[in-house]
């Protein structure tokens, strides 16, 4: 059973809704993972924000999933998680121990930007007009999420940047 590939040109509306749901699901899981990492490394501010983002992604996923059920019922799913990598999910490399809330918001902003880029770039390959409309809407949602994160960022007081060097021991000859 080889890993299936995503063919945007053949995407139906059902597939597109499933794909969008899976994208939100992946992002939800990843934010929770990062929140757990932050908890383990005593970084509560970033953990709290990542949980907030996880909840948001779960809500969007649930809304898309409901839309899919309303239109297509329990018809089998033809797209899988194996077809996508980090479309909206933060990359593992984005997290750091003791990251500030500002840095955590920066991670989320970059994720919303890359999700928008995915839907915008996908439009060039999509043939189904209903899928094009859906991707337009999803792209616009990502822009509104970017605005939300920027607003949150604006509320944060300017703080000290994280000192990554504080986490490691100095290399002393032994």
């Amino acid at each position: 059973m080889a890993t299936p590939k995503l063919d945007l040109s053949r995407l139906s509306l059902k597939d597109a809704l499933d794909l969008a749901t899976l994208i939100e699901e992946e992002a939800h899981e990843r934010y929770l993972e990062l929140a757990d990492q932050m908890d383990k490394h005593r970084t509560p501010g970033a953990a709290q924000f990542f949980r907030f983002m996880a909840e948001n992604e779960a809500k969007h996923g649930a809304a898309l999933s409901a839309q899919r059920r309303a239109r297509f019922g329990d018809a089998p799913r033809d797209v899988t998680r194996a077809m996508l990598f980090d479309v909206e999910a933060p990359e593992y490399d984005a997290a750091r121990a003791f990251m500030t809330a500002r840095e955590a918001l920066g991670v989320a902003l970059r994720c919303e930007e890359k999700a928008y880029a995915f839907f915008a770039e996908a439009l060039a390959y999509v043939n189904d007009p209903q899928v094009k409309t859906l991707f337009d809407e999803l792209g616009a949602e990502e822009v509104s999420h970017q605005d939300m994160v920027r607003r949150e960022l604006a509320h944060l007081p300017p703080g000290e940047e994280r000192n990554g060097e504080a986490f490691v021991d100095d290399p002393n000859p032994q």
Binding site: M1, T3, H41, F85, D93, P171
Partner: protein
Amino acid sequence: MSTTATQPTRAMEPKEFKSDLKPIWCPGCGDFGVLQALYRALASVGRPPHEIAFVSGIGCSSRIPGYTTAYGFNSVHGRALPIAQGIKIANPDLLVVVAGGDGDGFSIGGGHLPHAVRRNVDLTYLVMDNQIYGLTKGQLSPTSPRGLHTITSGYGSMEDPVNPLLYVLAYGAGFVAQGTPAEMPGLTAVIEEALRFPGFAFVNVQSPCVTFGEEEQQLRAHKTHMKSLAALGHDPADRLRAMALASDYGRELYTGVFYRNPEPGPTYDALVRRRQADLSPGAVPRERVLDRFRQDGGR
């Protein structure tokens, strides 16, 4: 990979391989991406967790067995390969995956590697090569580059690193690949291919240590200088060319399959089974093995 075990009957999900234990690696560690790629590759291969055994030694990356739902043996430092070989020979239907770091595999366990390779035991050996002993707070490891400043080389390392790719190619490994979590689809693909390969398969993953590693070893740097072997037009059946490319370890970051034996030979575990079958017609049944020591000779 053994062909005698059950064939996949349904599509599996990566999360079926994810245990409840949460990784304690440092945030940003390359091993998170490796683990994710591994879950996905296992789901694609489609063998259920109870048909898979993970064996590891000691180190950050050796925690992997605990993070999967498969059988796991987090063994002692450097001894993952002998244990994995024993498991595979005793139960050839298991898909056996060995995971560990460069210190575990090429330093304390370095003596075991050539023998596992030359025997061609059907294992997948996944090394998370971070060029440092991260778990013990940043000492020189066998793949640390010359000149590296660490707590055990305050004035810079005076040694050349081990070349893991060239090493396993020289001993005759049938499948040799390299990946990085900076390119997840490619990493997942090489792990999946290694799991499917019928024989000893080696994947070197450039998995940076975010805490003690150098800036130029981090994933951000990988993204700027990694080179796909497929894009370079490399033919994975060409072993000599693979060795020439592998010689650039430490200078170039090639990703993809260096070598895939187009005609894999018999695996050691298959030969053991054949030998057992050949000898079994004249063999005393297990329940009568002790009969010769009885006074009446077992009559």
